[in-house]
């Protein structure tokens, strides 16, 4: 009951081999120079990482839309396994896969027309291209309904004006498209009508701002985006007009579980690093792990890793069961928020503990715990802050909002 299938474990071993041999040796340098390794993405694609939730007809390995692993193809849990294993080596590489699938692929997969799917998905599922999703704006984050970007339709063409902030995978050399939410009108009750529109990279009027100076996730690609009379054909509307925001919210649950997998990889790595270091570092003539002040902290890391993993894979399993029609959306929502909230806070705690166990070395970039310490904080912010998760969990309990 409490273990993944042999297929999941086999894929985990493959991703681990790949991450340790092909990624680990480079991440310190890539992080230092804020280098996005565009060549690595197609190689991750060759292993099948981007196609696990994409049906075979669009170049992925899922047997059919909504089919589970019991039918011999990819599933959401398999994706979480890959994200956890990448995240154990480097969080920014992990988020590149997480956002590539959760924000790039999922909206097209869930709401695209057959033509849109056929046009964009095969390259995305193969890791040849990346896509982004732009919801957040300079003045609208947690309150994403406050979107001020506008799109107007005339003569079969959308004209988009506005700006987006912090959009992952939006400016890499292999980014093919960014889907953005925009106001497309006003409803009868005066509230904004928000839709989603796909803007191919290099469309005139679509500017990718220079990269941010970030605290962490240096390897991940994040940009502000500006749209000035940016025009795309009418058929670039993704999903139904006026449904963009609601549809996006619906795809966020997967993303939250996937972020939990990323956080679990972080906690797991901190456990491994702190365990090894506390056995080998001597102070007062003995390994520091001899002292309860240290060993208790390492024990706490083991508890954090275990609880993070259980919450993550319970939620992932629920999501796969929901796809197979056996569980409700409500159950998945609640489990996703609980997992995201708990594991992201666990990751921040775990990096703080590991850095403490490493003493002065923990503050030095020569040791990976320093990078993980910087990388962990964003887990409590992106794809819904901890406060937002608590709001959602409370709402799920039926509390008045």
């Amino acid at each position: 009951m409490f273990e993944l299938s042999p297929d999941h474990e086999e894929f985990r071993a493959l991703v681990r081999d790949f991450a340790e041999a092909e990624i680990a040796p480079h991440v310190a340098e890539w992080d230092r120079t804020s280098h996005f390794p565009a060549d690595l993405i197609p190689r991750m694609g060759e292993l099948g990482m981007f196609g696990l939730v994409v049906p075979e007809e669009f170049g992925g390995t899922r047997k059919a839309e909504g089919a589970g692993a019991d039918e011999g193809g990819g599933d959401f849990t398999m994706l979480c396994v890959a994200i956890e294993e990448l995240g154990r080596i480097d969080q920014a590489i992990g988020i590149t896969l997480e956002a590539g699938v959760g924000l790039g692929i999922n909206p097209i997969l869930n709401y695209g027309t057959p033509e849109q799917k056929a046009r964009w998905l095969p390259d995305l599922a193969a890791g040849r291209h990346l896509a982004g999703f732009g919801l957040t704006e300079p003045e609208a984050g947690s309150d994403a309904g406050g979107t001020t970007t506008r799109a107007t339709l005339a003569d079969g063409t959308w004209t988009v004006n506005g700006a987006k902030s912090f959009i992952t995978n939006s400016g890499t050399p292999i980014t093919s498209v960014v889907t953005v939410t925009a106001r497309t009108g006003t409803r009868d009750n005066g509230s904004p009508e928000i839709s989603a529109i796909m803007i191919p990279s290099r469309t005139p009027g679509f500017t990718v701002d220079p990269p941010y100076h970030k605290l962490g996730w240096h390897i991940s690609d994040t940009h502000g985006l500006a749209f000035e009379d940016c025009q795309v054909p009418e058929d670039h509307l993704l999903g139904a007009r006026g449904k963009g925001f609601a549809q996006f919210l619906a795809t966020l649950d997967d993303g939250r579980i996937a972020i939990a997998a990323l956080a679990t990889g972080c906690v797991q790595r901190m456990l491994e690093e702190a365990t090894a270091y506390s056995k080998q570092r001597l102070a007062f003539g003995k390994p520091i792990g001899t002292y309860q002040g240290v060993s208790f902290q390492v024990a706490d890391l083991a508890v954090l890793a275990e609880t993070s993993r259980l919450l993550t894979y319970k939620a992932a399993w629920l999501k796969d069961e929901m796809d197979a029609g056996r569980r409700s959306t409500q159950e998945v929502k609640q489990a996703a928020s609980i997992a995201k909230l708990y594991t992201s806070e666990a990751a921040v705690t775990a990096t703080r503990i590991a850095t403490q166990v490493f003493g002065g070395n923990g503050f030095m970039e020569e040791y990976p715990v320093a990078r993980f310490y910087r990388d962990a904080k964003i887990l409590e912010i992106g794809e819904g802050t901890s406060e937002v998760q608590r709001m959602l969990i409370a709402r799920g309990l039926g509390l008045p909002s």
């Binding site: 297929d7 493959l14 060759e46 292993l47 196609g51 390995t61 011999g72 990819g74 398999m78």
Partner: protein, 260 residues
Amino acid sequence: MNIVVCVKYVPDTQAERTFNASDNTTDRVNVDGLLSELDEYAVEEALKIVEAGEGVVTVVTVGPAQASDALKKALQMGADKAVHVIDDAIHGSDALATSLVLAKAIEKVGMPDLVLTGMSSTDGIMGVVPTMLAERLGLPAVTFASDLTVGADSVTARRDGDAASQTIEAALPALVSVTDQINEPRYPSFKGIMAAKKKPVETWGLADLGLSADEVGLDAAWTKVTAFEARPPRQQGTIVKDEGDGGGKLASFLAERKFI
């Protein structure tokens, strides 16, 4: 083009390795094992040849139950089918006996156009099985190929030596052992993992190959490991203090160890 690749299951070079105290053989059962890294190059080369044209890649291993992991990896990379020769009597076989078992297994598979092997195993590191096997099968042996071109009825291989590179041609069918310079072995993929589960794996014992227990195993071996000893733990590094003569000290340190 039908290709047989001989692959070996070996202890992970990264992990603890040990010998069996009772008979001084390598412990392949109680340690973490995997497909010998040097054999991955042979599997990759076979896959490339078949992908560029057509044919079937069959991987063959001789080894204990765990050796099926080596076959699985090769199948996940893309090989079409596998043969596992497993028999308690094979335990302790030397290179001569191993080549005998492999030859019989390959004959039973059906003589291929090409037999590929790694240049040596990462555990025994003898590198003699390929030539012995070629001799038994009556095939020309081209060893240590760092580049391979396959024609309709011949292969051309490059052998890189210290001073010169040789280009060698052999008529097919032939046996070629390949080095770690020949290609970059692929990783399996999710698709490969799922596909491998459905690929045929044959399991044969000595009797299936018309061999008897006294032709193989420890007792039939021409060589014997008489003793083994763990390598002494690594010495602490030497710190050379520069008192104006640091360069000289460094040079003599290196010279003592025959590095310069």
